[in-house]
């Protein structure tokens, strides 16, 4: 059972529709206690880092997510803001984030249109269960004004070009995330979600 973390600013409905299309068991998780009933977790997200963190704090999810993902080792997938909040801090707000991964989140420069909106090439930097079976040139749908700058380069799983290369996927142990919207990236994104559902977190 996949738990999709639901909070007011999220895109949880789209993620649920995508998981339903794949025939995967999933439920929305709105409270900390419900997290114990699922064996893997998706943290979706649209909107602002600060609003996301505030929602997670108010619902008591910060400690629950940490316990399930970092102590119990449940496979975890962040999407968009769900990737950005994994780092220590974001320029957006600015906001203190979860700090599961070292690094910070920065805004794209004004030399490009911000937000970045559209389909862009995701280049995997290493083999991983999440990117198995993708086309040679996978394009995914991005909507972001900010991007993560991981302090540990080994956490990077893929990069994408917009005002230079930025980190578009991370994977560190059982914690992974996509900056693009996997649930809205057509068949490529659905494949990544299917890969996540089968991933043992290693």
């Amino acid at each position: 059972m996949i738990g999709v973390v639901d909070y007011r600013a999220g895109n949880a409905p789209s993620v649920m529709f995508a998981l339903a299309r794949l025939g995967l068991d999933a439920r929305l998780v709105a409270g900390a206690a419900e997290l114990d009933a699922v064996d893997r977790i998706i943290l979706p997200g649209v909107g602002a880092a600060r609003a996301t963190i505030d929602s997670l704090v108010e619902t008591g999810m910060v400690d629950a997510l940490r316990r399930r993902a970092l102590v119990d080792g449940a496979p975890f997938l962040g999407i968009c803001i769900g990737l950005q909040v994994l780092f220590e801090r974001s320029e957006e707000g600015p906001a203190e984030c979860l700090g599961w991964l070292p690094g910070e989140v920065r805004r794209f420069p004004d030399s490009v249109r911000v937000p970045q909106i559209g389909w862009n090439l995701v280049r995997a930097t290493r083999d991983h269960a999440l990117t198995t079976g993708l086309p040679a040139e996978p394009y995914c749908y991005f909507v972001n004004s900010y991007h993560a700058v991981p302090a540990d380069p080994t956490a990077v799983l893929a990069t994408t070009d917009y005002a230079g290369a930025f980190c578009s996927m991370v994977a560190h142990g059982n914690v992974a995330a996509t900056q693009f919207h996997a649930e809205k990236s057509g068949e490529v994104g659905l494949r990544i979600l299917r890969n996540f559902a089968a991933w043992d977190g290693a």
């Binding site: 895109n11 409905p13 909107g47 004004d110 249109r113 559209g118 389909w119 862009n120 086309p135 057509g186």
Partner: protein, 264 residues
Amino acid sequence: MLTKRLIACFDVIGGRVTKAVRFQDNIDVAPAEDLARSLYEDQIDEIVFYDITASAERRKIDLDTVRRVAEHVFVPFTVGGGIRDVDDMYEVLKAGAEKISVDSMAVRDPDIIRHGAEAFGRQCIVLSTQVQHVGIRDGIPSGYEVFIDGARTATGLDAIDWVRRGEELGAGEIVVNSIDRDGTGDGYELDITRAVADSVNVPVIASGGAGTVEHIADGLTAGGAQAAIISSMLYSPRLDRNPSVRELKGALIARGVPMRPWVD
């Protein structure tokens, strides 16, 4: 690199797609969910749907149709029409849309843009503008005026002033829809599209008038737009033939316009 986007646009009445010319003479096309599903399979980049009578009838948007489309479409999906406040926006997002398009309501109450962007992020709020060429005059230095209520009501707002204001208030994308070209198949109004693209730093979407691949390519190059809205071409029963998305994108790529490649 970031590719250009081809966006299919539907006007919906009672759950069914309808097609007008210059905002009049609507004819029935298909149920919204059926058309959305077939365009998704044809790998359209994005879908926009306007509940075109919601605002005039002062009723809430048709959430059932939003949900039925969202269930079958795994590309971004924008919804507009009849959205009055942040609570309405939240209902539409909960039904499965990613973005909210605001138009007439944003002219009447510009703060709706700011409130929406604060609640859901700038990327969620698309400012759609209906513009008409009226000539340069007092208060309209660009020569293009913004209209609302399905192009029926002049606002006295200059198109360029309005899109700049919209960007400041928090709009994450701007749609430039030419009233003069809407549904004509004569090509986008490139001058105003380019002028808007040069005036804001958020993505700009060309709309109104695309009838050929050349028109789309022009909108995405000379027009300076990051995305092109097409509708009649894809599904209007008034045309002898409706090209597929795959065919259109192939022709755009052949003309050097970067597009998301077909996935087998």
